[in-house]
Symmetry: D2
């Protein structure tokens, strides 16, 4: 694989213009498939972020005053542009994230679901209206946009997450500032171009590139009304605590440790196939990736591991330019090393290596950040590889004696993003569905990501804050409710004064 | 007025039992109408709060597992008991808060609206169900109770606020710990009795009396999943920042500076009557009390103040035992002094006294914490009495030249709880309704408190957190969403492995 | 069993008064457990019905203008009275319908669910409110009561169906005329007493006793806005066609032929127990009674029939005064004869008698309309006993080779009220749930009646009309929607004239 | 204006193919602007309609089984094609209906709102899900498509009404048969082309051209599950009564007599301008056209008529090829004559002619079906021109002494489609909004057509049937509800038999 590309200097997108960074701080953007720097992205200082916020604030009143019908008309055009630019978007994603083309296409398709959701804004913005709640008063409610909101996105879905956490915010009338991951800024800037082409007024959509300094300005600046974040749990917790310390509305989505319970009655061949894609796809760099399997019963475990051993070993890691690659590199050299360290520690702690991916042979390009698939058996809750999210293709087998033990294991884990179970038994599925302390649950569905028009979000330390940033509840997160009590008086009546607390009911 | 009453020692209500305080710290509970201590309330230390939390936690699993139909059946009985105990509840409120009987009855009636709302739990708990969102997957969602939640209530509505911020929490399956104001613990304990009589299992409802130490334990204890608070803005902010620092879901409602815009076309006699009750009722100790009027235009202001001068001066302050009292004392001697200090400062800063209530003649009992009604004219935004919530019967007139100026004044204030306007003009009302940056809006409604089945909550520094603790959104605040993707497999089909990110749409 | 009772003359309940019938036509009301006439019920002629309609019409405007909060307050009191009068209601039901006390209590409890649903009227009446749908227009909608509506109830649920098809109608502001079955008028009149005691204004609730003449006046009278009916399919069809011919809104619920599919993996002992109560309870006189079982596979059928044979034969039929009775008599002598005729015909057509209930030995009282439990095996789709609803304790076994055949059989039947399946297999359950052409579906639930806050209603010839009379959609059936587009003009702007069709979107 | 065009023979669109008519009956399609036949449209006989129904039925199962996401994807493409074909669609509408280009564009834009609404199908199809409604039963509901549905459209909106009454029907999974007006079949056939190009499977969308014979087959054929109709009141009534006689679900929208109340405080110049477009636009051939004004008070009436006299007289009627035309011809020569007859009768009955449009001078083409604008004053309720919908540019003034009289007049009229009022007074507007017996209400909005995401529909004889065919309630009209009660059993527990009626509540 040969990519001939000079190192471009990227920009911010502020007030409808591509703006050169002035902080003189930059980060390298890699093509992880070849281990080469392809661009340098400016890291905004606080003044640059403030300027971006000011531009967003200036755009807000006119955008808020635009009817939702006209706002949605722009979303329609934006949707069409995304479809028209599909190939270019795929290439951009693949280049800076390393994922396969098919995977990048899946990501965009999923992102489109969020755009489609934003097309529902006229419905999701509806308030309630009650006639004569007492005393000829009508009560009604409305949902108002918040103002300037910030969304902070991770590297693993360069297009999908920005679409997911900003489309609705735009549609309901906010100005949105996106701070993409400094690993994948090119995709975010590409979206800026499309928003502008769709007719979005300048300042309604902003991209500020940066690192913690930019994030902190967003968290502290009083103009920012809400923060939505997707990333790792420690950062999500920091975002939640810091944003709320500045009285903001915050929804911060963290990592996952997502298990697949395998029941004895499951078809193990089918289940293993489902496991492969859900566990190793995108080099396991998904917050909803299956982290490991929990086969129930020794016999199930032995048979399942035997089937997996062969299948996992046969997986092909390679660059996105090779269509036969099952998955690509991890995002950085540091990430690669951290995953290897995770495997090493697990072995020290007693895990058994079924498949070892630490030294993959990648003929295509030896400088890419590749790791082969690793499968560890006999992992237990005391091991680090069990307790922490591993953002790379090292997956684990945890053995349980019973469904109850499997459920208890999962419920005791501090993360609660996703989980799935394979079985044909209705009773087992219901018990699982009811008792499991996890926000997104699959039954015979390998990656239980809800469809775009249902809510997405984990429990426990996988999600901080009440709100949902994906799914229909987004429209609530990005608006505030106003309740109006309306009455009209006749000039010739006199209602006198009432000193009692008003109520429209009576007790008798 | 003579009340002959020994000083009782109050309890906590933990695990279905009245429990004696063990901290050896107590607070005095006054009858503010006579300025006499009627009870001493134990102030829980951290260990006592922990014990209460443990009891609540122990009760949760069984309560959660109880069908919503059976939970609501208990709410029905609780509602009936509230109605049956109406007179006793009124007396309890009046005695410890000083408000008039009519006002106490209004409070209870309003509280019943929250209980009625909780009867809707079966509807408000419904999740969504979608057939075949793609690949024969059905998607569904559920709302699960959070676990143990805490509600921290203010002194000014001893019954209504506890009902409002706990009935739904109970109905949807949580265990609830109420920390009432140490000024009015008797009402909260009375509710405990009724809950128990209604058949609520022990531990589902808890009352812990205390001060900041108890609050801090509730804010920091990892078992507590959510905090709902009603009180002053500084404390609301503390609650929000501290609760979220411990990763909790928090909704904290603070104070208000609620203005009544008086338009030139309004019937000023009607409007003045509306003002009286809304501004001075309950000695102005309501977060939704009208703090002041903004007449539009000099002529309107002059006429309105002239009408008010006479009416305000005629208001009668006195004990609840006298049915002709328009309002009663403020809650404490300290509060009385603070309000007088507010008036003094305002005069120093240039406000003009229309009616002076600093030295009321109260024949009934000279030791009660009484203040007469005060009205200050020509108040301006730079004055302290304008900027801060005054929790007592000192109300202000702020003069504006135009509707736009009136709206701008209100929008520039840091609080945004309630607001109202008196006019017959549809265009003015619409402009006001749309542009005003306040959460609860009245049009010709003196106190724009939404009816119980609509959302309650302010904007800006009157409310911290996304959630609504009153109104139908309560059911969301006190639950968490789980989304399930369900599919059933045939053993003889093999879906293979998919390494791409899953989506149910296709782009073509 | 000895009931000493003179034959009372019953009344109508019109305008808040018990009114003597003037038509000089009467029907006998029996106690079916002893076969004795206990009352005679007047059959209204058209003039009497018109008078009732006039009284209901006169009451409508004030009731509509009453706030929903006050209307619901009456529903609360009505609910409490139902609970307080439980024993008396049970006795009334048992006496005129013959069902067991436990069954009567179940019926009332279920009826209470409909009353509870009506308590949700404030929510279910909410309209929608959209700000600035374009051109500064706000759009809003309201739900208005229809006016005078009629509900026509069957004999088999003397209390539940009247509650179910009228509570919401009352709560949302209509005047309701109930025509109960002339077999069970005493229960309906009892309800009238409770409504009045609860404070419902005179004329809002009316009971007109009668037969087809009264029904026809209700169907044809232009004041009647909507008809809700529950009964047999031929009458439901007549009601739908005749009511709509007079331009009314009609929902008419007919009969059922409700099958239980028994899968080979089901626990047949459990399933047989579930079958017994669902099939023979209330002497099978329920539109949701299980009419028959469809075991899948010969082995399943043989085993299931063997188990049932013993259990069915052991069932005890007898009067409600004997607590050990499993079920009581059928409603009339004619009904008894018709069921025997059904059995005779089935035998002629080739059905095999497993248990024969045609000649039960009832020591208690030989004049009651008793039938023992009958079970017929090898019933096929060409037999009359298969095609028609049999409203009495003759149940059938239909044998199918496969799940697909079972589903096809059910889908080919003209009725589609209820159906259930017993299995532990998730895939089978899903296939069944998706493909079955029936409105109410059970999975391991013997009688799949939805809980009160979900919709009730069959498909195919089991229900005529779009509307739902039970469940939350009731509030829609009993109201009509008004949509308001509101704008306020400034006198000094001129919008000119637009001759194009107005739209708030633009195409560009 | 010269249009050189041969007379084309049109087709049906059945099973994805343009099909030649075989009945040998045809109707002439005119260009009303030049009075010339431009096409002949085949009138299907019953056999042709049956064949179309068969093709639609054959397509249903696969379309129903298609996930809603994929169905909506086709709606997206269809929407894009409508926008791309805008100019061609405008020309088609103008040619066969005679309306102006601007008006045709407005119609299409409005039609797009219905397509946008259909994009919300994933949300609007959601069922409800309740966990543990008692006894570990989960209750859930789904919405299933009906099967083959028919929509019968009028001439006055050749594109908008077909889009409005079919887009959602398609999106939720039905096969749809459109019978367009035989006056405007070309537009309907154009839509067929676009549906096919968008990827809609053959048979899901069908166009059958015809007259009453085709309509009757649709009304009687048992395969047709639902009928939606828009047209005149007498035909709507026929459709409702005939469709329901065949047990179908029917929503039939009829005509309107839509008044504009003019209050004394209204700006009469503004109001007159609003009246012009709303009353005479599209040659008044809209069911929501303003039929007349009701000025309140003699002074208001005199001034308003004086202003209108001048403005109405200045209106320009002419062909769509002339951009300065305010409106075009009426649809046929017969329609023209009927309107003239209406005017003649009104004059005989005592109406005063303010502006007489019976003999317009149209230089462009003397053979078009043109009528100038007519305004009649002093019209009273006894006149025919008051009682009936006049589908052409003859509008009336009805004088009322008070708002109450104006409201009473409107409420006494048998039609109740639309109504509007011009005023600045909030109290008057509220009284009007509450008391008026009309389904669609404007306040200072000349044509109160609700935006696409709110419900559309009149009251009284303007709408037959419960359902809404426009707006979000469409999704209910075109689906049926299934309620599932689901439980899973453990093989080792035995629940025994229950003979009582099942309920999940308990009374105690």
């Amino acid at each position: 694989m040969v990519v001939n590309q000079s190192v471009r200097e990227l920009h911010h997108f502020i007030g409808g213009k591509m703006v050169t960074g002035t902080s003189s701080r930059f980060a390298d953007v890699y093509n992880p498939s070849i281990g080469t720097v392809i661009a340098k992205v400016p890291l905004a200082d606080r003044e640059e972020v403030k300027a971006a916020i000011d531009a967003a604030k200036a755009a807000f009143p006119a955008w808020k005053a635009t009817s939702v019908g006209k706002r949605v008309e722009i979303i329609h055009r934006f949707r069409n542009l995304l479809v028209e630019n599909l190939d270019e978007l795929i290439n951009t994603i693949c280049e800076e994230s390393g994922k396969t083309k098919e995977d990048a296409k899946g990501e965009i398709t999923r992102g489109l679901e969020s755009v489609d959701l934003a097309l529902n804004a006229p419905h999701l913005l509806k308030g309630e209206y009650s006639v004569n709640v007492g005393g000829d008063i009508n009560a009604l409610s409305t949902k108002s946009p918040l103002g300037v909101v910030a969304t902070i996105a991770p590297f693993n879905f360069p297009i999908m997450v920005p679409l997911a956490i900003s489309s609705m915010a735009v549609a309901v009338g906010n100005s949105v500032i996106l701070k993409p991951s400094e690993r994948v800024p090119i995709s975010a800037l590409y979206l800026s171009k499309l928003w502008q082409e769709a007719g979005l007024p300048d300042g309604v959509w902003t991209v500020v590139n940066g690192d913690k300094e930019a994030v902190n300005e967003l968290l502290e600046n009083p103009t920012i009304q809400a923060i939505s974040f997707v990333g790792s749990t420690p950062v999500a917790e920091y975002i939640y605590q810091t944003g709320t310390k500045h009285n903001k509305r915050v929804a911060a989505f963290g990592g996952g440790k997502n298990f697949m319970i395998v029941m004895p009655d499951a078809n193990l061949e089918q289940t293993a196939n489902a496991f492969l894609g859900a566990a190793y796809g995108a080099a396991s760099q998904r917050c909803m990736a299956i982290s490991g399997a929990i086969p129930v019963g020794k016999e199930t475990a032995d048979r399942f591991v035997a089937i997996l051993k062969e299948k996992v070993a046969a997986l092909k890691v390679g660059p996105y330019t090779d269509d036969s690659s099952d998955f690509g590199p991890v995002i950085t050299e540091q990430s690669k090393n951290a995953i290897i360290e995770h495997i090493n520690t697990a072995i020290t702690e007693g895990a058994q290596v079924v498949v070892d991916g630490r030294n993959p042979s990648i003929s295509a390009n030896s400088n890419g950040f590749y790791l082969g698939p690793t499968l560890l058996d006999h992992v237990t809750p005391t091991m680090k590889v069990y307790q922490e999210e591993v953002f790379g293709p090292a997956r684990i087998i945890v053995r349980a004696e019973s469904l109850q033990e499997a459920i208890d294991l999962i419920n005791d884990h501090e993360l609660g993003n996703g989980v799935t179970m394979f079985t044909n038994n209705g009773l087992a599925a219901r018990k699982f569905q009811e008792e499991i302390e996890v926000g997104m649950v699959g039954i015979n569905v390998p990656i239980p990501i809800p469809v775009g028009y249902h809510n997405f979000g984990g429990w426990k330390r996988s999600k901080f804050g009440e709100g949902h940033m994906f799914g229909p509840d987004q429209a609530r997160f990005f608006t505030k409710s106003k309740t109006i009590s309306e009455k009209w008086l006749s000039n010739d009546e006199d209602n006198g004064s009432s000193f009692a607390f008003p109520s429209n009911n009576t007790i008798s």
